[in-house]
Structures are given as structure tokens and as C-alpha cells.
């Protein structure tokens, strides 16, 4: 009797010790991973406030001069606004067009649908590269859209849409069809069903796509650079590359301050949208 109780106790103690150790190890690993992700970010937060930022992490000699210099730059602040305009503009186009297309593709079997989708997804990788720069430039020139946001938005949206449709279609596939059936019973038309039934359910996915699009556009240098002439129109991704000297040395005082201002809006958008909608990714290739 006593022997068995002791064994049981021992086992229980063992499990709880093991359990405890496992939790500590788990916490430790998670902390290390978190630190590894945080490590590169520290410079972004400290260097802008350092009088002499360098390519090393150092406790700043606190100053706001870098920002003061940046604010004197006639294009810097405006470029961040331009990035917002391009990011949100592209986002509206791809979310609206992408949702319509993805919904139709999810609910109607168009012949060769998957093949087309994969094909476009693959082609989007060619066109976002450097090789297609000349054709893209010439198309936009012949349409008379050089130095206009329309041209930039169309090219960006065209390149991003296949991925958006691909992800959203996965998403729509996973939405239970019973909701739409009952909506239809009440006499709702397809457009209304999409707007009032599908979109609200798919909102987390749409929010995810919206952010993903903004992130993509936010960092895009080549498309706005070649399609826009006027510096007043250039987004922050292009301006970031002007803070160099004639021989290509980085002016870290301006770059560190601008990097922070350049990153902050996307980070804020991201966390606000995340809080509001909570990203969910119902997708996955469905059978």
C-alpha cells in the first residue's frame, strides 16, 4: 500500500518536475527568439536620436537635430504622404477587384480556373522584377500616364492582384455556404450577398490582404521611381535612396531619422487594423 502510494507520488512529482522544467525551457526559448527578433530593431529606435549615428549600436548622445534637418528637406515629409496615397490607393483597387474576382472564382467553376490562377501568380514574379521594366515603362508612356499616380497605381495593382486573388479565393472557399443559401432564400441578389454576407465574414482576411498590399507598395522603389518624374510625387521608398553623397556614402543622420518616420506609419496601420479586425486566415488549399 504505502509502496504504491510512494511510487504514485514519485511519478506525480516526476511529471510535475518535468512539466515545470519543460515550461521553463519553453519560456527560455521563447524569450531568446523574441530577443533575436528584437535585436535588429533597437538601432531603429535609438540611432535617430543620436547626434552621430553609426553602423553600431550605441547609447545615443541625445538630440533631435536629425529630425530638424529632415524637416528642412522639402520632399521628406511629403513623400510619406505620397506613400500613404499610393499604398491606400493600390489597396482599394486590389481589395475591391480582388474580392469580386476571388468570390466569383470560388463559387463558379470557370474552366481551367486553377491553371489560370497559378499561371498569373507565376507571371507576377517576372513583372515585379527588373527585366520587365522597359515594357512597363513603354506601356505607361504610350498611355500618357507617365508622372501620374494613375500609372503607378495600375502597374502596382496589376502586379499584386494575382496573389491577392489567390489568397482571397482560398479564404472564400472556406466560408460556409449555408449563410449565402439562407440569404438567397430571403431574395438577396449576388452582389448583395457578397456585400452583406460574404464580406463581413471575410473581413479579417480582407484586412490581412489590405495590410499585405500596403506593405508591398510601401517598400516598392522601382515602379514609382521609373514612372514618376516630379520629386514632389515620389514616395518615401524612393526618397530613402536620396540620402547619400555623390559617391554613394550613406548619410546616417538623415537615414536613421527617415527610417523611423518611414517605418512608423505602416507599423501603426498594421497594429490598428490588427486590433480592430484581428487577422484571421481561414484559407488553405481546399480539396
Amino acid at each position: 500500500m504505502t509502496a504504491t502510494t510512494a511510487t504514485v507520488r514519485k511519478v506525480a512529482a516526476n511529471t510535475s518536475v518535468r512539466h515545470y522544467l519543460a515550461r521553463v525551457a519553453f519560456g527560455l526559448v521563447l524569450t531568446i527568439v523574441g530577443l533575436l527578433f528584437a535585436l535588429p530593431l533597437v538601432w531603429l529606435v535609438l540611432a535617430p536620436f543620436d547626434a552621430t549615428p553609426s553602423l553600431s549600436l550605441q547609447w545615443p548622445d541625445w538630440t533631435l537635430d536629425n529630425f530638424a534637418r529632415l524637416f528642412q528637406n522639402p520632399y521628406a515629409m511629403r513623400s510619406i504622404g505620397n506613400s500613404l496615397l499610393l499604398g491606400i490607393g493600390t489597396m482599394i483597387i486590389v481589395v475591391v477587384l480582388g474580392a469580386l474576382a476571388a468570390y466569383a472564382m470560388s463559387r463558379i467553376r470557370i474552366p481551367g480556373r486553377d491553371g489560370i490562377l497559378y499561371g498569373l501568380l507565376l507571371l507576377s514574379s517576372i513583372v515585379t522584377g527588373t527585366a520587365a521594366m522597359v515594357p512597363t515603362f513603354q506601356i505607361i508612356t504610350s498611355l500618357g500616364l507617365i508622372n501620374t499616380y494613375t500609372g503607378v497605381l495600375l502597374v502596382l495593382a496589376g502586379g499584386i492582384l494575382p496573389t491577392v486573388i489567390f489568397i482571397l479565393k482560398d479564404f472564400m472557399d472556406s466560408i460556409p455556404k449555408s449563410y449565402e443559401e439562407s440569404a438567397r432564400l430571403y431574395g438577396a441578389g449576388p452582389f448583395r450577398i457578397l456585400r452583406d454576407v460574404v464580406v463581413p465574414i471575410a473581413r479579417p482576411g480582407l484586412a490581412f490582404i489590405a495590410i499585405w498590399t500596403i506593405v508591398q507598395v510601401w517598400g516598392n522603389f522601382l515602379v514609382p521611381f521609373i514612372l514618376l518624374r516630379s520629386p514632389d510625387l515620389q514616395p518615401a521608398a524612393v526618397l530613402m535612396y536620396t540620402f547619400y553623397t555623390e559617391s554613394g556614402q550613406a548619410d546616417l543622420r538623415l537615414i536613421s531619422a527617415f527610417a523611423l518616420l518611414f517605418s512608423a506609419p505602416v507599423l501603426i496601420i498594421y497594429f490598428v487594423v490588427n486590433r480592430r479586425y484581428g487577422f484571421r486566415f481561414h484559407g488553405g488549399i481546399k480539396s
Binding site: 527578433f37 466569383a104 507571371l123 517576372i126 527588373t130 506593405v215 484559407g283 488553405g284 488549399i285
Partner: protein, 311 residues
């Protein structure tokens, strides 16, 4: 691998029934066409058209400047021959495969999943903090992120050398591939993490409970309950990550393809051929080769997904 070799005659027979079952909103083919049309027009004009043009460029000796800019000549498949017989192309392809497998498929996917799995039951600030850090790395523009990594790995005053006491060690020269692989994991893990977080939260809790009841260990739960449930997500994720990693150019901002071409992955190779090298025709041809490789990979994934469907 339980892929059955029989083709599916049932597929076509099922299709009409499926259509009725799918088209719950009464969309109809015509209206579906209207829904799809605007996106397709945009894609056709600004994606398909330049892409086809690029493929044509790949069969010329076109350059942006010089005599060949004024009168490019049709050279047929010469560019393809030139690329495929160039050892630096094969070197670059090899580096790309290593990069994709290590940083994309293994790194981003596994770490992304592990993170999603680890924080799934945690709530409050710890979860928010971990997710926030990973996501911040993803959201920050590449040109900024590359600076952060230069600071981390700098030879003279880098953070890493400071922490490890390895003063003067040139990480980016001694271990360039490892550096860009870690960099890309850092940048891209958030996508997988998010995708798997949602996938995990969609796994029916009842299934996990019953697995626990029969005494399944954590690993067994993962293998028998979780993974079968999120297989579709794993495929979507792997497909997209592979494609993106294949095409990413951001490592260039950290190592500029160096030292001595040791991090010259295909996207960098194409850039260096097309822009500083000026050979746009050749660059276009290599782009198409890259697309074909991507196509093979995508087909492989689709095969896996089809096989799973039948099983």
C-alpha cells in the same frame, strides 16, 4: 505519400453537381464573368502584356544603351544557351535553391509554425509582444531592414561582434549565405506565423480534446490531429513562400551579391545582368528560366495537393 496513380474519371462527372453546390449565391457564369473581368483586364494590361513582351525581349540582344538599343536583333534561343552554359548561372541557381529551402521552406515555415504553436494558448502582453516583434520585422520596409542588419553584422562595431566578443569578425564576408538566410527568416516569418495562427485556431477543439482523452502526447496530437487539419494551409503557405523567396531581391541590399558572388541568388544575378551589365535581353531570358523553375515547383505542390484530395 499516399498518392494514388489512378486518374480521376469521377472528377468530370462530379463537376456539374459541384457547380450547383458551389454556386449558392446564384451568381451564374455571366455575372461571375462580370465580377472577374475588371481584375483580369487590369492583370492583362499591366501584367500579362509586359510579361509577354519580356519573353520576346528574351529572344533579342536588346540593351538599354549602346548600338543594340537602337536596333536590337532577334537572336532566337541564344540567350538561353548563353545562360545555361554559364557556370555562374548554375552557381546562382544552386545558391537560390539553398536560399529557398533554408530560409523559406525550413526557416520561415517551421519557425512561423513553431511561433504560432507556442503562443496559441498564451494571452496578454507576452503574446502581443512576441507577435508584435515578429510582425514589425515583416512590416518594416526592406531598405530600412537592410540597414538594421548591416548594423547587426558590421565588422568593426556590429552588435553581434559586441555581444559575442568577436571583435573584427566579418560575418558578411565569412558567412554571407548564412547571413542572408537569417535575414530573410527575420523578414518573412511573420507571414507564416499569421497564417498558421489562424489555421490553428480553426482546428476543432473537440478533436484535440478527444486526442488528449486517449492520452496522446503533444507530438502525437500535432501529427494526428493538427497537421491533417491544416494541410491546406501548409500547402498555400509553402507555395507562396517558395515563390516569394525565389524572387526576393532584398538580400542584395545587405550583401550586394558578394563577396565575390557568394550570395548572387537568381534575382540578384538577373539584376546584375540586366542593369549594371546592360544585357536586358539576357536578363529577360533568365527571368523566364526562373519562371519555368517556379512552374515546376508549383506543379509539384499541386500534385501533392491533388494526391491528398484523393486519399
Amino acid at each position: 505519400m499516399s498518392t494514388s496513380t489512378t486518374t480521376t474519371p469521377a472528377g468530370s462527372a462530379i463537376a456539374p453537381r459541384r457547380r450547383r453546390a458551389d454556386d449558392v449565391a446564384g451568381l451564374g457564369t455571366a455575372r461571375a464573368g462580370i465580377f472577374v473581368a475588371p481584375a483580369l483586364i487590369l492583370i492583362g494590361l499591366f501584367l500579362l502584356f509586359p510579361a509577354i513582351w519580356t519573353i520576346w525581349l528574351g529572344m533579342t540582344d536588346y540593351r538599354l544603351t549602346g548600338l543594340q538599343a537602337a536596333s536590337p536583333e532577334f537572336v532566337g534561343l541564344d540567350n538561353y544557351v548563353e545562360a545555361l552554359t554559364d557556370p555562374s548561372f548554375w552557381n546562382s541557381l544552386w545558391l537560390t535553391l539553398v536560399f529557398v529551402v533554408a530560409s523559406g521552406i525550413v526557416g520561415q515555415t517551421l519557425i512561423g509554425f513553431a511561433l504560432a504553436w507556442s503562443v496559441r494558448n498564451i494571452h496578454g502582453w507576452v503574446k502581443a509582444l512576441i507577435e508584435g516583434l515578429v510582425l514589425a520585422a515583416w512590416v518594416i520596409p526592406a531598405s530600412v531592414a537592410s540597414f538594421l542588419w548591416l548594423v547587426l553584422m558590421d565588422r568593426r562595431s556590429g552588435t553581434l561582434n559586441g555581444l559575442l566578443g568577436t571583435d573584427g569578425y566579418a560575418w558578411l564576408i565569412e558567412h554571407p549565405m548564412e547571413a542572408i538566410i537569417l535575414f530573410n527568416i527575420w523578414v518573412g516569418t511573420a507571414f507564416s506565423m499569421q497564417l498558421f495562427s489562424s489555421a490553428l485556431s480553426a482546428v476543432p477543439p473537440s478533436q484535440i480534446e478527444s486526442a488528449k482523452m486517449v492520452g496522446a502526447s503533444g507530438w502525437q496530437q500535432l501529427r494526428d490531429v493538427i497537421i491533417p487539419n491544416i494541410k491546406g494551409h501548409i500547402l498555400t503557405n509553402t507555395l507562396l513562400i517558395t515563390l516569394w523567396t525565389f524572387n526576393t531581391f532584398t538580400p542584395y541590399l545587405v550583401t550586394a551579391g558578394g563577396p565575390n558572388g557568394k550570395t548572387e541568388i537568381l534575382s540578384v544575378y538577373i539584376y546584375e545582368t540586366a542593369i549594371p551589365g546592360g544585357q536586358l535581353g539576357l536578363g529577360a531570358a533568365i527571368s523566364l528560366i526562373m519562371l519555368l523553375i517556379n512552374l515546376v515547383i508549383a506543379l509539384a505542390y499541386i500534385r501533392v495537393s491533388r494526391g491528398r484530395k484523393k486519399a
